[in-house]
Every structure is written in structure tokens, then in C-alpha cells.
Symmetry: C2
Subunit: 224 residues, 2 copies
DNA sequence: CGAAGGATTGATTAGTCTCAACGCAAGTGG
DNA sequence: CCACTTGCGTTGAGACTAATCAATCCTTCG
């Protein structure tokens, strides 16, 4: 696995702290070892869009560890631990171990698929569906890496952060969450999320886990 | 260049015809040689989101020429010509010519950056800003490949297609376009777009071409 | 205890959607 | 050559989703 290559050099970042800022060129490939991380863009008018969340095992700056400055900011949601490997060292490692390049590439493909799904969410789903979809996505991703328990998982986002990722306002997220709860679909308290009726939630969210490389039950497709 | 590797096997696709459908596994890497191509997702409720446009020189199925079925449909906007190279043949070519892998990778990075910007547009910009932004994006991308003339470029999208990419309805696109015209910012007729006041349009759109790997004047950043 | 961040509520408004109709131009078939 | 169709653009009226502005409440924590 790629993950071992990073065992040395790793940093701990406090919650809500920036890791890489838009415009910088980190020249490293980084992996999240622990915690939640988000990528966002800030517009000139001050509004902010969270693009994606990174969970343990996900690469960040994968999309940009070439020369170019990155087009978005990477920041910790919770306290997070990341490991970094310098671009130059990576170049040395890859020939020895082609599975690294493969892992980087696969990570990039899934990240891209997630981004496409997010565009679709924000463009075509209602507030109710968007939030339901976000819950499904995070739950399935967490389950793959063994961070769920039954129908529950950690969910460290504030309502403002849910707003920033779904393209809604914090107030509207609050009200929509109340609707979801009132319908008996989810519970969310103490940063702990429970998907009470997962199937119904999935169908409301128009959620199809194929884009994550998973089947309807969350098992990995294709490759073993 | 990568483009030469594709000179043989190429197909012409009529306007509005699907090229690869969601769920298929093309097992090819394809390049657009000519025309506009779009990628979209269709939701279970029938609504459709156009994810991105591909122009001559862009790769499609790059994100998916591995085993997995693709998560979106690729279709021709105008009549288009594409060249395909089989996954297996590609595997043979790459070791001989590492610049291919590099080009594929760079293409993927820019595609991902475009997708991030689209998420941001749909999530945070108003209808007016979104359409302005789309115009700026396509104009800058077309200019890089030499398909603009002064402040004008081809723009073969119908208002419904503009709606599908911006996450608006066709009716609202129509009205918003009228606003843009009334403000003297753009002209759009006969599938020909003119950005009368490019600077003002860019600032309205909160458009910053860095994400395309370009500077404010559309020149390529970093690499020569 | 006070401060601060987050969640909740209410009232009002703005932006966008929906539905429905109509106009215009190009293409098609008789 | 004309009648018909089809695709695209335009307009109007009304409904509704989500935004805005402004308070208030609740927890947590120093």
C-alpha cells in the first residue's frame, strides 16, 4: 500500500486550520491519515464553496503536485493528521513501485467522480435531496474505511459547513435538517449521524454509490 | 505531441448523438479532434446536469479508461470528430513515450480544476454570474486553441444546454441572456458569441483564468 | 460568570421555477 | 410551392424555494 510510504514525516493540524492555501505550490503529495479535511474556493465577493471532503486514506494536492499553484484551499475540519512526501522523492519512488502511480491515479479518478456528483447535486437537487445526498456519500465513504458503526458515523460538520458544501445558507440548512429529522430519516446530534432509514434516504437523495466505485450495498466494484 | 498518436482510427459523430453512455466501459482513451463534446449525468427524476464541455485537444474517458464503468454520458454537441486508442495499445505506447502519460495526467488535472470551478459556479454564483462565467471559460479555452477571432468565438449551445450546464431553467436562461445583452456585455446570435466588454464581463463573472492554467490575459502559466 | 460558537426561530423578500402560450425560421413531404 | 412539423427562442402570470435580516437560545469553555 501507498500508505506505508508516508510513515515518517507526518504533521498534526488543529481543527479549522488551513493546510495549503490557494495560490501556493506545495510540491508535495499528501495523504490524510486521520480526521476530516476539506477543500474550498473563496470567491471575490466573499462567498465560499466547499468542493470536497477528504477522509483518512485520501490524497490531497494529488491534483496539483506538479508545478502549478493550486486553485483551492485545503483546510482541516477536525484535528487532522497528514503525511507528506516531497515531489522529488515521489519521482524517485515511482519507478521502483508502479503501484504508487496506480494508487495516485485511482485516487484522482474517484476524486473527480465525487466532484462530478457534487456539481450534479448542487445543480439539480433540491435542498432536501442535497443534504440527504451528502449524508449518504459520507456514510458510504466512511463505511469503506471502517469508520461506521451500524447505521451511524461521525459527522463533524457544523450547519454552516453543510451550507457551504451544498450551496445553501446556514439558515436553510437548519430548517431542512429539521424536515429530515421530522420525517424520521436521520438523527444528527453531538457530531454523530445516524441514518435511520438508509434505503429511503438513498432513494430521496437519488443516491447511487457507483460513482464511488461501490455497489448498492457499499461493496467495492470490479477490482478485488 | 499526443495528438499524432491518434491519427489513424478516428470517427465522426453527428451533433447531439451519444458517444459513450453511463455504465459502459469503453476501454479506450479518446481525444476530441474537432467540434464540441459534452459530458452529462441524468438523475433518476429525469433532470440532467451537463458536467463539462470538451474541445479539440481534450481527452475524454481519460477518467475512466480503467476497468470501471463510466459514471456519466459523453455526447456530441456539434458534429464532432474523435480519435480512439485502445487501452491495451496505450499501455504499450506509454513506456516508449513518457510524455503521453504526462499529457494524460495534465489533461486530467485541468479537467478536475474546471469541474471544481463549475461546482463553485453552480453553488455560489447568481444566474447572471454563472452565464457570464460560462462565456468567459469557453472563450478563454477556445482562444488557447486558436478558435477565437478578436472578441468572438463559436458558441453552439442552445439555451436549454446553457440551462443544463448552469443548473438553471431554459426560461430563466433566456431572461438572463437578455439582461446580459441589454447591459451591452455580450452578443449571441447565430451560434456566434461576442464578448463586447470582456473585462467587465470577467469581473461580473468573478472569473479568474488561473484554474485553466492561464494568466489574466489568457497566456499559459508556468510551463512553456 | 461572561464570552463565543453554534443552533433555532420568525418575518419578509428576492430569485428562480413552473406552466402555458406564442413566434419565428428551417426543414420536410406532398 | 405550400402546408405541416419541429426546434429554438421569447413572453407572461403566478407559485414556491431559498435567501436575508434579525433575534433569541443553548452549550461549552475559559
Amino acid at each position: 500500500m501507498l500508505r506505508e510510504a508516508f510513515e515518517n514525516c507526518n504533521r498534526t493540524i488543529p481543527a479549522r486550520r488551513d493546510i495549503y492555501r490557494e495560490g501556493e505550490s506545495p510540491h508535495v503529495l499528501a495523504v490524510v491519515l486521520d480526521g476530516w479535511v476539506q477543500c474550498h474556493k473563496q470567491l471575490a465577493n466573499g462567498r465560499r464553496q466547499i468542493l470536497s471532503f477528504l477522509l483518512p486514506g485520501d490524497l490531497c494536492t494529488a491534483a496539483s503536485f506538479m508545478a502549478d499553484p493550486i486553485d483551492h484551499t485545503v483546510a482541516a475540519v477536525t484535528q487532522a493528521r497528514i503525511a507528506e512526501i516531497a515531489e522529488m522523492e515521489l519521482a524517485r519512488l515511482v519507478p521502483q513501485c508502479p503501484s504508487i502511480a496506480q494508487a495516485v491515479s485511482r485516487n484522482g479518478q474517484i476524486a473527480a467522480a465525487i466532484q462530478r456528483e457534487r456539481t450534479t447535486s448542487v445543480g439539480q437537487r433540491t435542498a432536501y435531496e442535497r443534504i440527504a445526498h451528502l449524508f449518504c456519500e459520507m456514510f458510504f465513504r466512511l463505511r469503506v474505511i471502517g469508520l461506521t458503526e451500524g447505521h451511524s458515523c461521525p459527522f463533524p460538520l457544523t450547519q454552516s459547513e453543510i451550507a457551504e458544501v451544498t450551496g445553501l445558507t446556514q439558515v436553510h440548512v437548519n430548517r431542512t435538517l429539521q424536515d429530515l429529522r421530522r420525517e424520521g430519516l436521520v438523527e444528527l446530534q453531538q457530531r454523530q449521524l445516524t441514518l435511520i432509514e438508509l434505503d429511503r434516504l438513498m432513494s430521496i437523495a437519488l443516491f447511487n454509490p457507483n460513482y464511488l466505485g461501490l455497489d448498492r450495498d457499499g461493496r467495492e466494484l470490479g477490482l478485488g
